[in-house]
Subunit: 156 residues, 2 copies
DNA sequence: CTTGACCCTAAAGCAGCTTCAGGGTGTTTA
DNA sequence: TAAACACCCTGAAGCTGCTTTAGGGTCAAG
């Protein structure tokens, strides 16, 4: 099948599939000599479903690579896999904990200004200007789960 | 003071401070004519502390810009600020909910393989290969909070 | 024979930095 | 006085997982 069909079946965009090929997650497809279109078979589809499942579980490409490797070594121990999942769970849990602290702090902050005043008298701005003790600690330190690299202030 | 000193006082790296200047979060510093070094005063320090606090609370630069704007308009209504914080809280809460679903799914998955077998018999790989009903739904759809853009599989 | 749906590549964009390459400045110490 | 070392500068690339854009072929239907 062609890439559009594959995309539809598996629920990725065609761009994503091409991207996965470039990244080495998906084996390069054979090309139709006539027009250079990619041609896919059932094994590609299975692999993509596997990948999709892993991404749904917020695994990185690196983690997925490990699992894909393991998948083609039926006689190896699956301990690596268990450890990978365990670690991943820990990351997720750590992230949740961080965000819960963040939530608490934000609600506390929000409480500084219940009614609408002028910004001059806004308790929120005041709080942000002169951080209170217990609100000063970084809520979000670091993590590897969903989007850690992008947000969450780990200042140094 | 020079940038290194400022960095130490406020807890950012010098690179981050220069980056903030380039992004427009921080006003460009005056330069020492002798050597072109940046020179900072107390207002820069205050502004950076404000920014740091906001980043600790995982706000985007865009959100911080809004707050910084508001900060210099003492007579304006602070309703915008309240709304911004409220929305931010919602994002964080939504993100937590997503991650909790993810956690549940991962633990369920992990349960498929308690002892270490060969990968051939690994319940985890089996599950990833042939997704079960209730585990098929995307746990992480989207969000704007801490790192949404980077991770979390929103396939299409 | 043109319209529209599909395919291709390479490069840039997103967020918020960090790192690197390449090069000055300034103080201290041998 | 010269080397060593800490600090400053700029511009560009790298990180993650895609998405978007630009520019261009292929192919079936009307």
């Amino acid at each position: 099948m062609k890439i559009g069909e594959l995309a539809k079946q598996v629920g990725f965009t065609v761009e994503t599939i091409r991207y996965y090929e470039k990244e080495g997650l998906l084996h390069p497809a054979l090309r139709d000599p006539a027009n250079n279109y990619r041609r896919y078979d059932h094994s590609h589809l299975e692999r993509l479903i596997f990948i999709r499942r892993c991404r749904t579980l917020a695994m990185t490409h690196e983690e997925i690579q490990v699992l894909l490797q393991a998948r083609v070594q039926p006689n190896a121990s699956c301990e690596t896999i268990n450890e990978l999942i365990d670690e991943h769970i820990h990351h997720v849990q750590a992230r949740i904990a961080e965000l819960q602290i963040l939530e608490t702090q934000l609600i506390e902050l929000r409480g500084q200004c219940r009614a609408a005043h002028t910004t001059r008298d806004c308790g929120i701005l005041r709080e942000l200007d002169h951080p209170t003790e217990e609100l000063t600690e970084p809520a979000v330190v670091h993590s590897h789960v969903p989007g850690s690299q992008c947000r969450g202030g780990q200042h140094k």
